[in-house]
Subunit: 233 residues, 2 copies
DNA sequence: CAATTAAAATTGGTTAACCAGATTGGTTTG
DNA sequence: CAAACCAATCTGGTTAACCAATTTTAATTG
């Protein structure tokens, strides 16, 4: 029931080892925020790992805002306190690969908010894109074909209309794991797709009429089956 | 008002160019899901970029579940339809660096859900960790010192208790941007910290008593000031 | 002795060479 | 003729050499 996302299954362990060693370095050597880390070459040798692996790990910690590499200068500890850094590093080390349940739970949360925001912020162009996606979906379903992709496109169109780039990014990050599991466990069968037509139209209408409460409610209906399924798996 | 997160400010543009070229390749050469991409060396030359840049981009698309590299074998297109891939690639290309407003909006959404889940799922160990973090926070505030870090640790402890790894990851991803902006715009002044003591205690009590609704409500109170601030910036 | 400047060493980033394993095509063999 | 096998080749991953810019050091000069 594990999903390969947000963590590299391969280098994951070696990366975690490196992160732990960096944490030790910061604590043991009493490095303070703003201080410079030893050079990549030195650290790679000290840790007994390749420089490329070390660089990948540093990039990951840059992504989490803990380190910052300056070209031809060095890698620095971001200007947040050592307590916070320790807490975040512990969390990163403890992070597991999200299971399907986590993904679905999170997706529903995101999509409910997105529906609300989309109803509030959608432009006419957004609406047009949603309509196009929805038509493509309906056509596929009526033809009795698989429409998981078209479904996805519709939901991404809504996300775009919500005008929140963080939410958009998270939707994208979550999506592949969802799709893979859908296909693996055959979550979407034909019947559900047919029900989906009306549910999608309801969501679309609510967003069109700029009714955030209704949009969220209709999205909730849409996810009800998925929600229950996810909790019985 | 831009935050350096979720996108590399530097190689961002070159990466987007590469992604666009990969998209063209898939569409123009009619590559289907499951197909193998040309080798890294070939693509690097064809695109006129360095192999390392190409590899970084491929890893990013692997992260989004669009490509999959197999050692000593090749890079393959994941088994999702070409429509979905096009939609996702478009989205990735359009992704902006989240602004502060997006971050705060998303953080509040995540934290409200997290508070609810934590109240439902917290173990006694979780509670102990939260208590420790909270004590550290209170002490700092009462001493008149800055307590942004201790605040963060407390919130991360709640997130841990929510037992949802996706939500945990997203909190971590969002956090650095929030901290940076907090410091930049002096969001947290001493008065707010003092109010924070009671607010935090309320959240803690609700989670301790396993009252999800109250936990969410108290978290909402806690974020009210931030929310308003965020919408007036 | 202090200020200046130039050169040498150090830095992260990039490029090219190398590696082990998977793939492939042709050859051999039953 | 088909199946088994082996070597040449191609693959992503790794390592080492290289680059340009920065930082440090030391020599020079007023």
């Amino acid at each position: 029931m594990k999903v390969e996302i947000l963590t590299k299954t391969e280098n994951g362990n070696i990366q975690k080892e490196i992160i732990a060693k960096i944490k030790d370095l910061i604590n043991f050597k009493n490095l303070e925020p703003g201080d410079k880390l030893p050079s990549e070459r030195m650290l790679a040798e000290k840790f007994g790992v390749s420089r490329s692996n070390l660089r990948e790990t540093i990039q990951k910690l840059e992504f989490y805002g803990i380190l910052k590499s300056m070209p031809q200068s060095g890698t620095f500890i971001e200007n947040i306190g050592v307590t916070a850094i320790n807490g975040m590093l512990d969390d990163i080390l403890r992070l597991e690969t999200p299971d399907f349940k986590s993904l679905v739970e999170t997706r529903i949360l995101l999509e409910l908010k997105i529906a609300r925001l989309a109803a509030l912020r959608r432009t006419d162009d957004d609406l047009k894109e949603m309509r196009t996606a929805l038509d493509a979906y309906n056509e596929k379903v009526r033809a009795g074909e698989d429409a998981v992709e078209e479904d996805l496109i519709f939901h991404l169109a809504i996300a775009k209309a919500a005008k929140n780039s963080s939410l958009n990014t998270f939707m994208l990050v979550i999506t592949p794991g969802i799709i893979t599991n859908f296909e693996k466990y055959h979550v979407c069968d034909k019947n559900q797709s047919f029900m989906g037509i009306q549910e999608h139209e309801d969501i679309y209408d609510a967003i069109k009429n700029q009714d955030p409460k209704l949009a969220k409610a209709k999205m909730k209906v849409h996810f009800k089956v998925l929600y229950q399924y996810c909790y019985n798996i």
